[in-house]
């Protein structure tokens, strides 16, 4: 049984890279223009999203994930008393 894994983190990483390049180009002409500021704001938003995605990935424990779906298996059974 497979679970769909969202490949978001990699995709976000690419977007971050792209947005940084874009911001550097936009700001080459006028570093105080609205477009430049908005471009760097986009970098910040994507960087924050990437970091949240990384944290989510890091927090997940392979055994815990497996046990969420298969609580009846030998390695997952827990008894309260």
């Amino acid at each position: 049984k497979f679970r769909a894994v969202r490949a978001a983190p990699d995709k976000i990483s690419e977007k971050v890279e792209e947005s940084i390049k874009n911001a550097q180009e936009t700001c080459a002409g006028d570093p105080t223009s609205g477009e430049c500021v908005a471009a760097w704001d986009e970098v910040e938003e994507l960087s924050a999203a990437a970091s949240h995605a990384r944290d989510k990935k890091k927090d997940s424990d392979p055994l815990e994930d497996y046990c969420k779906d298969n609580p009846e298996t030998l390695e997952c059974k827990t008894f309260d008393d």
């Binding site: 976000i12 971050v16 609205g34 704001d41 986009e42 990437a50 970091s51 949240h52």
Partner: protein, 409 residues
């Protein structure tokens, strides 16, 4: 007796309505929490569905609203996890909904992210040349209407701003919780929204620390360099200073994070000086103090009774003024190495609103893996969490009392 309100609203797409400013109110004697029904006028052939939403509140069921303001990447989510943990139960995204939803729901608390009230999506902001910090990129009318509706016990269909795609996704249903937390860049910007808040917190991260944190967060990311991190902070700074920073004057509690003074010229951002600035005279909120309320005290707990490693821990407590308001400040500089230090510190703080001795330490231990658990950020966030629980319980108790008193009189 329960008080009921009937809202009639026109032509809405979905099952539950958002009350608009043109809602008309009628009072009925229903007992149900919420009833929704439609009447379709058959005379006109247009799709003119008129509908009524009835909400009834028992005296104590009104939602309490808390505002948390901070810049992106400044630890709002860690604070939120500490806060929901104080109330018990884990906060999770709504089940079965949009996987990119920003909302967190636990038994008592619902946390909504104010980015969901962006009026311009990522492309829209780029075209107009405005940042997400700019009020023009946010819909404060909708924010006010929906927060007000939830406070009044009415479910709303709230938009979802998708941080991955930068688009506004279809809305999700938010039911009124016991405690609603609105977190984001502008919870205290609009005076109407501000007046709805029962308590407000501002996370104030100094520029040096912000820079250090973002380096830790972003340096591993492809494409990022010291220059790009610096450029991003600098570019957003004018808007931050103009629209976000001024909100701190309205906050009931400000958590200020500064570089340490224990190590000269430290710029690693690992050891922090954290100040909890608490407004005096706020109803249901009595500030935490060290040893003696109202005195000015500097305290180094390290000595014969407690061994601390370099650079040690230093506390400060005292009265101050902050934007013309009377405040009490508790400050901690340095970091904990071991648990016994924290329980020692906790036993010397008063007015913590904890339910048993050692609750602060226990809460901190529960989340030892969260960022800031070994310094003042985690300590003060946990304390503010306990303060909010206390505030919530006092408000509920006072509401339960009032109708009884009124009936007797």
């Amino acid at each position: 007796m329960a008080a009921c309100t009937v809202y009639s609203t026109q032509s809405l797409r979905t099952n539950i309505s958002i009350p608009t400013s043109s809602s008309s109110k009628t009072h009925l004697g229903f007992n149900q929490k919420q009833v929704v029904f439609y009447t379709t006028s058959k005379k006109s052939r247009t799709n003119n569905n008129k509908r009524y939403l009835i909400t009834c509140k028992a005296g104590d069921s009104q939602t309490i609203v808390i505002g948390l303001a901070a810049d992106s990447g400044c630890g709002k989510s860690t604070f939120m996890r500490r806060l929901t943990s104080v109330f018990g139960g884990a906060a999770e995204p709504p089940k079965g909904g949009n996987p990119d939803s920003n909302t967190l729901i636990s038994d008592t608390t619902t946390v909504i992210c104010l980015d969901d009230y962006h009026s311009l999506d990522r492309t829209g902001r780029k075209e107009k040349g405005v940042t997400a910090l700019d009020p023009r990129a946010n819909d404060f009318d909708l924010m006010y209407q929906q927060v007000k509706a939830i406070k009044d016990g009415i479910s709303v269909e709230k938009p979802i701003y998708n941080h991955v795609t930068g688009l506004l996704d279809p809305p999700e249903l938010i039911k009124p919780p016991k405690i609603l937390v609105i977190e984001g860049l502008h919870p205290m910007y609009d005076s109407r929204v501000r007046d709805l808040l029962d308590f407000s917190i501002y996370l104030d991260i100094s520029n040096e620390v912000k820079f250090a944190w973002k380096i830790q967060r972003d340096m591993a990311e492809r494409g990022h360099s010291l220059e790009s991190i610096k450029a991003s902070i600098e570019a957003r700074k004018p808007d931050f200073d103009a629209f976000i920073d001024p909100q701190k004057q309205y906050a009931d509690a400000v958590i200020e994070v500064l570089p340490t003074q224990l190590i000269p010229d430290d710029n690693e951002g690992k050891i922090l000086r954290v100040r909890l600035i608490q407004k005096e005279g706020v109803k249901y909120f009595s500030p935490v103090y060290l040893f003696d309320e109202g005195s000015t005290i500097s305290w180094i707990p390290c000595g014969r009774k407690l061994t601390c490693s370099y650079p040690g821990i230093k506390f400060f407590y005292g009265p101050d003024t902050y934007f013309g308001n009377e405040v009490s400040v508790v400050e901690m500089d340095g970091q904990f190495d071991r648990l016994d230090e924290l329980i020692y510190v906790e036993s010397h703080l008063s007015n913590l609103s904890s339910k048993f001795y050692g609750e602060v330490t226990q809460q901190m231990l529960k989340h030892a893996d969260f960022p800031g658990s070994n310094n003042g950020t985690g300590l003060f966030q946990t304390i503010v969490g306990l303060k909010i629980r206390d505030l919530f319980e006092q408000i509920v108790a006072s509401r339960a009392e009032t109708p009884v008193g009124a009936a007797k009189a």
